[in-house]
């Protein structure tokens, strides 16, 4: 009986909470203002540089590394993938348009027809399948190389995710938002715990980045990944990173491109609207 009561009560709470929910625009304003007040003097775009925006000595190391960035080869590989025709003679341009610099900024977006969030990776593999090609793996390798090229081509353009006034799109946005703030896993940690409460603090030797600007530099070259395994070249997608975070808090990660991660990407990227794309990035 007590259980039923609790259930009813929580169901009621959810209903009231949904009614009182803030709009994406209000969420974005509060989110950005929080970081601007906490880190005065940091330029908006600089938040896209994560920990390097927050710590002078880490920034120096990073800047010298950026002179010969380890992701450069993968941009070239991505360019090759973009140019190479499929067996049917078409190429990625047949799906994305001829100008590779105009692709990245369209993602993620809400697709009304399928009622879901569509990501760049999702459309890359859709393009392959539609043309009778074998899809890429979701988290690393070719998908990340092509993403790195498309990101590089789009550098400097502003993130501009649109949350349409469609109940289903808002629902997806709300699910992503909830994901960011909900504690999960045996370690009981939310994304927000580290990246809203403690950016600029250190977890062991690692400096925590701000939630603002977290998605602008993906796909990313991570030194940690480059050392992880023989088949890992260091490049990885945003969903690869999500999975790694969830694993670290001892939650079962969701699959790359799962509804959960796509919706998280929707919210997460929207929070960085107005920041410049700076992909591919380098991180420790």
């Amino acid at each position: 009986m007590k259980k039923i009561l609790t259930l009813l009560l929580s169901a009621g709470l959810v209903a009231t909470a949904t009614q009182a929910v803030s709009s994406p625009k209000e969420d974005l304003e509060k989110f950005r203002m929080y970081y601007e007040q906490r880190f005065p003097g940091i330029q908006l775009d600089d938040f896209g540089n994560g920990p390097y925006a927050l710590d002078a000595s880490k920034r120096l190391q990073w800047e010298s590394m950026e002179e010969f960035p380890p992701y450069e080869d993968y941009i070239d590989k991505g360019s090759e993938i973009w140019e190479t025709p499929f067996k049917n003679g078409k190429s990625f341009a047949s799906c994305f348009g001829k100008d590779p610099s105009k692709v990245r900024v369209k993602y993620p977006h809400w697709d009304k027809a399928s009622s879901q969030v569509v990501t760049l990776e999702g459309d890359i593999n859709k393009c392959l399948k539609d043309n009778g090609e074998k899809p890429f793996g979701w988290k690393k390798g070719k998908i990340a190389h092509l993403g790195a090229f498309l990101g590089y081509e789009a550098r400097g353009q502003k993130i501009n995710v649109v949350i349409p006034d469609d109940p289903k799109a808002l629902e997806a946005y709300e699910e992503g938002k909830h994901f960011y703030y909900a504690k999960r896993g045996q370690l009981n940690l939310a994304c927000a715990d580290c990246h809203i409460q403690y950016p600029g603090h250190r977890v062991r030797g690692q400096l925590l980045s701000t939630g603002l600007g977290q998605t602008t530099h993906f796909p990313v070259f991570r030194a940690k990944w480059s050392k992880a395994a023989a088949n890992s070249d260091g490049m990885g997608t945003l969903h690869r990173r999500y999975g790694g975070c969830n694993k670290q808090v001892r939650a079962r990660p969701f699959k790359a491109q799962s509804r959960q991660y796509r919706n998280l990407e929707f919210f997460h990227t929207y929070m960085s609207n107005g920041l410049a794309i700076n992909a591919p990035g380098y991180r420790e």
């Binding site: 045996q186 370690l187 009981n188 940690l189 715990d193 580290c194 409460q197 403690y198 603090h201 250190r202 977890v203 062991r204 030797g205």
Partner: protein, 119 residues
Amino acid sequence: MTKLTKRLGPTATALALCIGLVLSAQASAADLEAGKKIAFDRSKGNCLTCHHIEGGTLPGNIGPPLVAMKSRFPDKAKLRAQIWDATAINPHSIMPPLGRHRILSEKEVDLVTDYIYSL
């Protein structure tokens, strides 16, 4: 010890705890060493991720440095409760509930408490 407790069942555990309480008023050097090991172990307490502890390398700075614990926690039970579940006092606490989520066993929480209390 753990095996024995299992076999004896909860009654004996209670008894063991009673005896333990009397004996553990002053934790032994071996216990403190065991507690330190758990506190430093990345897959166990992993306290250094967030806290500075003397003798620990590469500590994080999310939580306060673990120093002068006796003055900060005159009541050792409160320190243990904080380690067992920091979210009981602050639901938003970033500190993992080491006991409540069984990241550590009860015995391990005891050992870590003794060690941290000695700092």
